[in-house]
Symmetry: C2
Subunit: 68 residues, 2 copies
Amino acid sequence: MADFKYEIVEHIGTLSESAKGWTKELNRISWNGGEPKYDIRDWAPEHEKMGKGVTLSEDEMAKLKDLL
Amino acid sequence: MADFKYEIVEHIGTLSESAKGWTKELNRISWNGGEPKYDIRDWAPEHEKMGKGVTLSEDEMAKLKDLL
């Protein structure tokens, strides 16, 4: 997989934690130095691994908020 | 990749649409006949392909709502 850089600019909250200590989190993440985006994904206990997830722009997050 | 079945039980809404017609959607999906779960992911125009995404339980979605 291509190498990439990421920075968790803001940890907004944890949605759940699995028995194995993996956490599903809502964060704002800057990918490869880009503009931070909302991000919902699973993380290993020490954040040493990340699972599949989804990034959401400001507009997408605003729309999601409307739908909930 | 292992074969799996899914059914979009409820299309709740579309968060965005890309220039290529892919849509980022919030749905409730039953995977392999299981209990429907919330699901945020990208879909090809005719839903013939799905992108990476995240599934959320009722509790996780409630927590996400609190955080927004």
